[in-house]
Subunit: 342 residues, 2 copies
């Protein structure tokens, strides 16, 4: 124990506190208050394969809560084995982001949740009406919607499915040792992890990856210094479907300045949510870190720097909330429930 290491730990802590924040218990949304019954209902819907046309795909199929909220495949497989164009980001801590999806095209988790249900290559439901029909046909759900939306004259409606799932997602926070550190316990990180944190800040990563989710606070171009695909394409697996160049946020805004711009992703649980980048092209965290330094900062990191940063990133692997992992027993269908279609 030396005064200088004490001083530098405190310095580091103060610097970190300026850039990051400990996770809240719940990511609140005043427009959709998180209540116990809404969370209960949202969790059931999250796990319920009947929200898909085939009755075999649920949110949990692509965002497996037991695997840190992802499917660990390059790009997701959906209805009729359609292979989508992007990697599935984790739902853990996602509610904290400024917007949802890699290109930020949904405002919040409430709006986002309605997308995949109707997406023909995800859950494949043909219409909103059919989704509502499924839920209305199951008396246990009707009861829960009434309780979750007591002031709503028509509680079982499409938008409320999004609100219930969104409320559940707002509870999916995964605090880690880094939060203990931010809360003042400088011994919560090892020496190496602290060195990694220092490098993460000094090299410039924290300029983009910051806030409570260590990311999710802004949109930035992937490829600040050179086209991103020059670095990532050597990694694209031979077995992967032909990955195309992704215009990113340009597809949403049609603004040329948004070409190749993506939401800066959260780095919470990043060691568990391989493969990396919007196209799932890179499997090793070390490689992803090197590519970031190169494409975003024009820097070649030393092996030691990469190792330290990766050690720090691993300290962001958090505790998964126990309740989310307790699978809810789902109520049976009835004669009125539309039959699965393949």
């Amino acid at each position: 124990f030396s005064v200088s290491s004490f001083a530098s730990d405190t310095d580091l802590l103060n610097q970190a506190k300026n850039l990051f924040k400990p996770l809240p218990k719940v990511a609140n949304n005043p427009e959709n208050p998180v209540t116990q019954v809404k969370v209960k209902l949202g969790k059931m819907l999250y796990y319920d394969t009947r929200l898909s046309r085939s009755n075999i795909i649920s949110c949990n199929s692509c965002h497996n809560l037991a695997r840190y909220g992802v499917d660990n495949t390059p790009t997701s497989v959906g209805h009729k084995w359609a292979i989508g164009p992007r990697n599935a980001p984790t739902v853990y801590n996602a509610a904290l982001h400024i917007a949802q999806f890699w290109d930020g095209r949904a405002k919040d988790v409430e709006e986002q949740a309605l997308g995949p249900i109707l997406n023909p290559i995800e859950m494949g439901m043909p219409t909103k009406e059919r989704v509502v029909k499924v839920v209305k046909s199951i008396p246990e759900y009707v009861e829960l919607f009434k309780k979750a939306f007591p002031n709503d004259s028509d509680p079982v409606k499409f938008e409320n499915i999004g609100k219930a799932i969104g409320a559940f997602e707002r509870t999916l926070m995964t605090p880690s040792r880094f939060d203990e550190f931010l809360n003042g316990n400088t011994n919560a990180l090892t020496k190496k992890e602290k060195r990694g944190l220092k490098t993460f800040i000094s090299v410039g990563c924290a300029g983009c990856h910051n806030g409570p989710a260590i990311g999710g606070t802004m949109f930035m171009k992937f490829g600040q210094v050179e086209e991103y695909w020059k670095e990532t394409y050597p990694y694209v697996l031979k077995e992967s479907p032909a990955i195309k160049v992704d215009f990113g946020r340009f597809g949403v805004t049609k603004n040329k300045a948004d070409m190749f711009v993506f939401k800066v992703p959260s780095l919470r649980n990043i060691a568990e949510t391989y493969p990396y980048f919007h196209d799932g092209s890179v499997w090793k965290l070390e490689d992803a870190v090197r590519i970031m330094a190169k494409t975003q900062l024009g820097k070649d990191l030393t092996d030691q720097q990469v190792e330290d940063i990766v050690a720090f990133l691993k300290s962001l692997t958090g505790k998964l909330p126990e309740d989310a992992l307790k699978t809810p027993v789902l109520p049976p269908s009835t004669d009125k429930t539309p039959k699965p279609e393949f």
Copy 2:
């Protein structure tokens, strides 16, 4: 309260005790003792999608423990969206059956578990070696195999995957009010349910559906009185894939006497495991009961008889074991883990 209803309740209980048995806590197998660590490992493997070629299908995909161990679709969808020929039976209480699969082609749950992993239309793994390679590439699994099979010089082998999953399945017992009844509490069933039980016995159902699982004790021809499909085909959904006549156990033994012979299925949780029969052709329990009386016993049941039997069958819906529903957090892959293939 009348002496005669008391006497008849006791009679019914005694009759029932001769035909059925309460569920054991665990379905033991002396050749594969159920230990805590084996069950823990087996549960992880049961939920792990990496046992499939695509890394998106696990046992739980088709035998959803939150939906009473089934997928509630006519016939299951597997690797590359292949649609199989048979309905997925529940894994709950299955370890008690004399054999596994509709046609009994696997001896026990240990042997059974190895089938779907290599089945090209289920989990689609190309070889045993690849499955073992996946498991060996994940250090947490290697540790658990060592602990679960301490006397084995080569613990991480294909057969032991079956043993671990099998041990887990041996804990999947779902006691219901009917077990309370069998244990002597004649008030555990309502009047109607008791009338249904009486009818179930007197009409002849219990001649085939008996033992602790209310089924699973013998093989019998489906269609004792007339070809089964004459009764079931009107129910085959238009949307379903063309269902073919299924030879049943003949396919296993090549013995003509086994044509259209199937294992008599367990009726535990039957109200939850729709659709019914090996082809999943019938969605309503009432219809399945009527078809059974007709095809197996040559009888046309009255509406009252059907209603009572269904009430009794609903009393077989049991309590799902809490631990099984706590999804295990799965360890990450490593560089050595084979990548998913679609």
